[in-house]
């Protein structure tokens, strides 16, 4: 370096002057310019201990946990709803009502012929008398005589989901040949399920946004506190010519680490919660309540979308933490200047 060398020469000159004794700086090491010290990595300019890390870590972990639970729940419900809709749309039902003077068996056979002749139908079968009796048993008791009651006959039609039949055309043909037949493609149910699933997804997204906003606000308050308690450091950095981006980076580094650790802790806690729910639901699998639960959510399967969602949420919490702290630092420095 030019300066110390020049200064050193200049200073030696000064020491050679008549008042050299007075000029000698304490402990001046004339030959000690060869550095041989073992160096530790340079210490952090903003010490981690000066950031109120513990409290913020827990806040971030809780926020991340809530966000991950929301993401996981939305993913589970969305997946269950897609399964319901896909199961329902894979089948349509044809009902043949026993009208006065109508040979129901012949009408069912004719309807089956029409249905099977339609492209896109992969299979069709009428429920047998025994199956009908089983369906009615909870209401009418055992041993129902179907000939004495005007019980409609049901035909279950399986359709090819990739190339479904023309429902309108099928309905038209059936009404022409078998006037007492009616076709139900579950459109109403599907619509209701879609509305419910969308409502849940939107509600979950709204909760997620609120949680993330609360996270950002917590980080902003924490950053302001950290900046205020490290005011001396900021001032010195300013005076030695540090750019705002440098100062922001020094703070951001801590908050990014804190955000990642907090986010990860929350994410892992959410995964543990899902595992616990799954385990406890499996304990009730043989019970009527467990069966209902399985029927609704399909065994609460946490698919890869839920895992990806939780992973992304953890990263999002870390990124939001770093970004919020950076913005707060810039805002602080603007006022500081």
């Amino acid at each position: 370096m030019v300066l110390p060398a020049d200064l050193k020469d200049g200073f030696r000159d000064a020491r050679d002057a008549e008042d050299a004794d007075d000029l000698r700086i304490d402990d001046l090491d004339e030959d000690g310019s060869e550095p041989d010290e073992d160096f530790e990595p340079a210490g952090a300019i903003v010490p981690a201990s000066s950031i109120a890390g513990r409290a913020l870590f827990f806040v971030l972990a809780i926020m991340s946990f809530l966000a991950c639970i929301t993401v996981g729940a939305v993913a589970v419900i969305a997946s269950a709803s897609a399964d319901w809709r896909s199961d329902i749309s894979a089948e349509i039902t044809v009902q043949v009502r026993p009208l006065e003077g109508l040979d129901v068996t012949a009408a069912v056979t004719e309807a089956l012929d029409i249905i099977r002749s339609m492209p896109g139908v992969t299979g069709a079968g009428a429920l047998s008398d025994q199956e009908l009796r089983d369906l009615l048993e909870p209401w009418l008791g055992a041993g129902v005589d179907l000939d004495e009651l005007p019980v409609p006959r049901l035909i279950v039609v399986e359709v090819d989901r990739s190339a479904p039949p023309d429902i309108g055309e099928l309905r038209r043909r059936l009404s022409q040949s078998v006037p007492s037949a009616s076709l139900d493609d579950h459109e109403l149910w599907q619509g209701r399920l879609a509305v419910m699933a969308n409502t849940l997804t939107i509600s979950g997204s709204a909760i997620l946004v609120l949680v993330l906003v609360a996270t950002v606000l917590s980080v902003i308050f924490a950053t302001r506190g950290a900046m205020a308690s490290n005011r001396d450091i900021v001032e010195v950095l300013h005076l030695v010519g540090a750019k705002e981006s440098f100062i922001a980076r020094e703070f951001e580094r801590h908050f990014l680490r804190l955000g990642f650790r907090g986010g990860l802790a929350g994410g892992l806690a959410a995964l543990a919660s899902f595992a616990a729910i799954r385990w406890s639901s499996s304990q009730f699998s043989a019970t009527p309540a467990g069966d209902q639960f399985d029927a609704l959510f399909g065994g609460l399967s946490i698919g890869w979308t839920a895992f990806a969602g939780i992973g992304l949420t953890v990263l999002l919490v870390a990124a939001l933490t770093a970004m919020s702290s950076r913005l707060a630092v810039f805002r602080f420095l603007k006022v500081f200047d």
């Binding site: 370096m1 030019v2 300066l3 110390p4 060398a5 020049d6 200064l7 050193k8 200049g10 200073f11 000064a14 007075d22 000029l23 000698r24 700086i25 304490d26 402990d27 001046l28 090491d29 000690g32 310019s33 550095p35 010290e37 160096f39 530790e40 340079a42 210490g43 300019i45 010490p47 000066s50 001396d232 450091i233 001032e235 010195v236 950095l237 300013h238 005076l239 030695v240 010519g241 540090a242 750019k243 705002e244 440098f246 603007k334 200047d337």
Partner: protein, 219 residues
Amino acid sequence: MIRFENVGLRYGMGPEVLRDVSFRIDRGSFQFLTGPSGAGKTSLMRLLFLALKPTRGLMSVFDHDVASLPRTDLPTLRRRIGVVFQDFRLLDHLTTYENVALPLRVIGKPETSYRTDVIELLHWVGLGDRVHVRPPVLSGGEKQRAAIARAVITQPEMLLADEPTGNVDPTLARRLLRLFMELHRLGTTVVIATHDIGLMDQYDARRFVLNEGRVHIYD
């Protein structure tokens, strides 16, 4: 290099602490800034190291009008100025080495490129055996020398020292003055704020005397 024309400064809605201050500081010059306590020395120093902007008047630093200078340009100008504070402003959690190296670190130089220079400078100011020591265990004189080393490590064009001898005994004060004289001899513009008449009498230099916010210059 530095030009003040009718510069005034007030804090908030308070009275003016500096009034109609006009002077020039030429490149490579040496001057003392003196005056009684409360006369505005520290405020003037804060203006000089760009920690404040004047509330009126023209102030130009390195031929840049400070009033029209964007905030983003301030760090670049500050890097051309070395500052020694009366209270040192060393960071207590960093070692002496890290404190002195701080100006180089903030400009993004890799540590390996300046390690030798910093250690050499520390040896030169007599802190060769205090490299890894943190400021709380340094004596007042050692802190002062560390602060000076930090101020000169980047070879600034201008060195500002606010009461640099305020915390040291007369012998060390004289040594530090000689150090500033050496820096001046090597081409650095030096401004020393002090109310130590004895110190000023040791070196024949221009004196800015501040009194009640106004500056009087004695060449």
